[in-house]
Assembly symmetry: none
Homo-oligomer: 189 residues x 4
């Protein structure tokens, strides 16, 4: 039997995405996770703590996934491209997790996440962009602006792909072309 704590997390993800935070009673999570009502509150003191734990767990998973590409050997440009492409792929393969993060990001619960955790997770990634700017591979703009625009693009492409319904060949092509566009935007001129 899977760990009950994990089971609760997995069920919560499914239900929160389907019905929203407010639309999902803790009792339903417990029921569908196959645990008692009180068990949920034994592991997570409040509903919000559960929501935050789920958020951090997903962010951690995503960060781990990207980390290898950011820290790999090779040209900065290659690593940069890999990050973009695999971020999009991860989002497509984990639509619920991707959606959950968006949903959480635009909710007042975001305030409950300590900011340092944030920065720490984004670090390897911010570092790479910083390096790219310094080495005159990327535009001479503030690191934060470049990061924001880069992120905006990852999100924009995912948004498009979700609603476009392409086959996997077309998807790959689109992702590559989108990256070329992003590169045109961010590369040093």
């Amino acid at each position: 039997m899977v760990d009950k704590k994990e089971q609760i997390l997995a069920t919560a993800l499914r239900l929160f995405v389907a019905d929203g935070f407010h639309g999902t009673p803790t009792s339903k999570i417990a029921l569908e996770a196959g645990v008692a009502n009180g068990t949920l509150f034994y592991h997570y003191k409040t509903k919000e703590e559960l929501m935050v734990a789920l958020y951090n767990s997903i962010k951690g998973e995503l960060a781990n996934n990207i980390l290898s590409f950011a820290q790999a050997e090779g040209f900065i440009t290659t690593r940069f491209k890999n990050i973009f492409i695999h971020s999009v792929y991860w989002a497509l393969k984990n639509p619920e997790k991707f959606y959950y993060i968006q949903q959480f990001n635009f909710s007042p619960h975001l305030a409950k996440v300590p900011k340092d955790i944030f920065k720490q997770q984004a670090m390897p990634y911010t570092q790479l962009i910083g390096e790219g700017i310094k080495k005159k591979l990327l535009r001479q703009q503030p690191e934060e602006l470049v990061t924001a625009l880069f992120n905006g693009q990852v999100y924009g492409v995912c948004q498009y792909l979700k609603s476009a319904g392409l086959d996997s060949g077309e998807q790959e092509k689109t992702i590559n072309e989108a990256y070329d566009m992003v590169w045109d935007m961010l590369k040093y001129t």
Copy 2:
């Protein structure tokens, strides 16, 4: 005394942004709007109806604001630039409204907004992009992808400006440079 209906809407915006949908009881909205509990429900049959009405009201305001630029005389490229720049300015001048829209977009309540209203509001804007593609001023990519990337950039810039704390001169400069970058990404090559 301002119209009570307006007062309710304004108070709801403030509270929804501060505390979230679920974190804001209708009774609190009524209280802080200076009306009786029942008055709120006289004007809006349900809480969700209030939320949707608020959403539509803001979207309408934004659309009106942008419309003039989209439909203006002149080069497509100029109109395109104007849309970008004034969207960003509007967002900066109306942070609560901008945030509310994001929050609503990532909530299950979005489903309650008829899709045709959506398309209708975005039309002048989508049309312009479609025209730009056809006339080979913009990249030969699906209209929806171009739109998604364009929107992603508006959002990315706003995100950056919100946290960067620049003076208005620097802000203007940043917005213009960001537009140049967007243009490098989307222009026909």
Copy 3:
């Protein structure tokens, strides 16, 4: 139909005395008071607020009852005796209220009652004792000690009468004799 707020108070008194604070769910109070669950919380924000309101209401009633005797014309000694005797009578006629006050006094909820309300209610009564001491009718001891001992006696007699099961003639006799004893204790010597 009686005021619902009153009805809730009366029902709460009965149930709290019968089953204790913790042994009485708010839902039971509402049910037996013939109001909806939410109505109770409309009038009293929390269960504890209800408990405190009940306490203050009873104390107020008792204070009013005694006030007339304390402020009456006539010898201090007569007024003093009247207070004692009518306090005991009131307790015997209102056993639930009397018990409720004791129960509340020995609970942590007492801390929720503002102290100034306390002093204000006891004032006419404390004043009389102070006057008695100054005029050398009562023992030359601190006002507070005399008050404490006087109160201890009221409580002691009530305790005894409750368990003794006397008829009303014997009761009257006992109360009078008990007062004589109290007087022997407190009178100036």
Copy 4:
């Protein structure tokens, strides 16, 4: 390391007095006593059993303390005075225990204590008063009334001393004078 059972009892006393019975979860007692949740229930089958055990333990301690004075050789009047004075001292030295007993006495849990245990503990004490009445040292009133008034006075003095904040010399004087007053009330006339 102290006996865990003792540790639980001591912690329970502290917390029950501070927060009340209902305000003190067993889990908190276990936590602050430094034992596991289940350990508490290993030693005391239910929470109420713990409460009663604590009550009996304190009553036993108090009874032992007083017993020696009640059963000592010498004049009844001396023993009587000693009981009064040492009861007050014990209460002042053990304010939490004294308060706990009051709190318990005015709670529905009192019913769970077998009545014979009660009478047995009070016996040496009641006996002394009975003897005093028979020998015409005390007033010719029912034994129970005299006992009730005597107890009321112990409580009254403690109440006063708790709030008066006297130094130990003044305290001793007050206790002695209070006893003189009690004696004036109860002595045979």
